[in-house]
Amino acid sequence: MNDTAKPRQWNMRAQDKQARLDSIADRLDGKLAQRDDIAAVLYGCIRSGDRVIAEGNNQKQADFLSKALASLDPERIHDLHMIQPSVGRPEHLAVFEKGIARKLDFAFSGTQSHRIGALMMDGTIEVGAIHTYIELYARLFVDLIPKVVLTAAFKADRAGNLYTGPSTEDTPALVEAAAFSNGIVIAQANEIVDDVSELERVDIPGSWVDVIVEADQPFFIEPLFTRDPRHITPVQIFMAMMALKGIYAEHRVTSLNHGIGFNTAAIELLLPTFGEKLGLRGKIATNWVLNPHPTLIPAIESGWVESVHCFGTELGMEQYVAARPDIFFTGHDGSLRSNRAFCQLAGQYAADMFIGSTLQIDPDGNSSTVTASRVSGFGGAPNLGSDARGRRHATPAWQDMAPAGDKLGRGRKLVVQIVETFQAGLIPTFVDELDAVTVARKANLAVAPVMIYGDDTTHLLTEEGLAYLYKAESIEERRAMIAAVAGVTPLGQRADPNTTQRLRAAGKVRFPEDLGVSHTDATRSLLAASSINDLVDWSGGLYHPPARFRSW
């Protein structure tokens, strides 16, 4: 040992945090910062090169703080490494264009998907990786430990206790990573109250939070999961009927997650009608890992649903959820408690099935919603749509996926892709190579942004038929099964009719007539609700749709 060396200090992070907070102490009243001081607070708390989380969730956005961040002087603050579950606001990208930030790790980009694609390709944004949510949270505790977290709440008290309520979403995971690694947590709140007794409940303890500020306006929240039943097409209803018969009933799927498209909305609205006729109530689709989809209301009201755990909330559903505490997870104040980290875990380990749509599928069954310049990220889909290899508990649906004669009893999660063979504008869904491959090359991504890997996909459902991919005995057979349901796309036209016939005979591919589903039965009259208005009626007036969905 070299005794001339200074003994190592073991609390450098704590000292650094204290120094930063000391530098803004005269601007704070306890933990409370004045709105006008927010730039000074950020200059005090953030250093160039820091890892910073700007809470952009799927829905809730810490927009007051992210706008303040984007207005900083890049001469003083630059080269930030932003970590964001969702990049959903224009200012999230402005921090890169202005040179305040350089590197980005994220999961979902939603409305900014075109612009983010362009900025990645011209080198303005250096992307670490496009994660799935739970993967990004995981890295916050390993190799992406944040220095500063900018978060958002409905209410805060002066001690820093936060009420995040129905929109808790990612907040606990993001805040925990900083709060217990001597990072700094800055929270914006729509309203600041004096005492904890004035909060509906405490979602984040005050001791985890360093600075609070009252936002100039309530945080932005996006109704991402409202699908107007008016836009559900007969083809989607047809496919929903095939799904209910050929997958839900076939494998007795009780626990599940649905994607956010119209295909799965159609399934939700068919449960009380077509599903009821099949006698499936109580036998399938009882336990859900799902945001409070308005289109699930009829199924809940007619007794199909036992439980729903939510990633986030949905605008307009607050009162309905609060009035159904036996179904949803709610706090003692009555309002929903969402939690994306736990919900993603639940979707991975406890749900038997994920079913969702996509934009492109390649001959091996890999799928992606990344096309040309649109880099949307996939949020939770890569996690929900993959087999949980650590799973060790059996359910009938999961075990149904086990190979015949398997002595270990090892099942699989059902991962279902439900797509029409052509997208709008006659663009084939089935392609020889995913656009994601090109995008990865142009944007210098080490991993092509694939949403769901082909070998995780157990079922592929199109309007042409249902391929039970988990039954494939070889890669070649698997490809043939995919081609068999690819319709008249170039890939589908290469399918060999004799092979397809053999696959049908073996029950590896089923056509609608094999399932006893007829086009003429697939009418919109089968939907339990055909408009947003109907959903309001089903909810007994408890659902209050956002203005843009109203047609009365």
Partner: protein
């Protein structure tokens, strides 16, 4: 409404024109005139590379509703926005003119118009407008003998020249989702500016043009649920009533007074419009 009632409800808005007719007519009584197999298609759309429809988006059918002789003219909302072209317009006008002849010969046939239309088909311009004018004239002529029943349920609403046809009907039935107005929201926005009328502000649009507002201001007679049975029940009542010309149509003076009182530079709001109509109604007993 309980769960089983909700499940039994069948949306009228959802139905195609032909399915609407089938639901309204007494079973087995329907006979379609100039049906799709006559292949009377628009001569104009094809010239503009637009796919035609073999009934040109209009279904005409004779039959009975609860035993009353009717002719139903149903506009297909899913074809070209329910627009009135030369052929479709002429089918309606011709049907109404035959009904005038029948009525004059002592065989009253009650017309029921299912108006789901953005008005004239722009691709057919004057040909469509001429047909609409003929429809107006025939409705006025028919009212001397029989009630003329108009139904607007959505999803398109009833706009343009066909909104005048609706206004001429002796009995108008709407749902909450229906919209009724001379100019559609986009047209108003385009002409008057987004400050005057934001065509994406759905609650504002329905608050001014929607079925509830039109009913509250006495411009339509019936407001009913979007349910096939409910719509049919209202139509049965209307075709059986002998009332051919409600005060809404006759008292032009009252409308002129109301119009004169409107200040065009004040932004219209639903409550104020209702109050103005109410005041005028109390004044003149006009709108009931």
């Amino acid at each position: 409404m309980n769960t089983s009632e909700l499940l039994q409800r069948q949306s009228f808005v959802e139905l195609s024109a032909r399915a609407r007719v089938a639901q309204l007519l007494d079973g087995g009584s329907g006979r379609e005139l100039l049906g799709p197999f006559e292949r009377l298609t628009s001569p104009w759309l094809a010239l503009q590379d637009i796919v035609t429809q073999s009934d040109d988006g209009v279904v005409i059918s004779r039959g009975t509703v609860d035993g009353v002789d009717v002719v139903i003219a149903a506009i297909e909302p899913a074809f070209q926005g329910g627009s009135m072209g030369e052929v479709g317009g002429a089918k309606i006008a011709g049907a109404l003119e035959l009904a005038v002849e029948d009525a004059a010969n002592g065989k009253p046939v009650v017309p029921v118009l299912l108006l789901e239309t953005g008005g004239v088909r722009l691709q057919e311009a004057n040909c469509g407008l001429a047909a609409i004018a003929e429809i107006h004239a025939a409705i006025v002529a028919l009212r001397a003998w029989v009630p003329v029943v108009g139904v607007v349920t959505g999803p398109v609403g009833c706009f343009g020249g066909m909104s005048i046809a609706a206004g001429l009907c002796s009995h108008l039935i709407v749902t909450r989702e229906a919209r009724l107005g001379l100019n559609g929201p986009q047209v108003i926005e385009q002409e008057a500016g987004i400050e005057e009328f934001d065509s994406r502000d759905r609650p504002m649009i329905w608050s001014l043009l929607g079925g509830q507002q039109r009913h509250a201001t006495g411009l339509v007679e019936d407001l009913c649920d979007d349910d096939v049975r409910a719509v049919r029940a209202r139509i049965v009542e209307a075709v059986q009533s002998g009332d051919t010309a409600p005060a809404r149509i006759e008292n032009i003076q009252a409308f002129e007074t109301l119009l004169a009182a409107i200040e065009p530079d004040v932004l219209a709001e639903a409550d104020k419009v209702r109050a103005a109509f109410e005041q005028q109604a109390n004044h003149a007993g006009a709108f009931s």
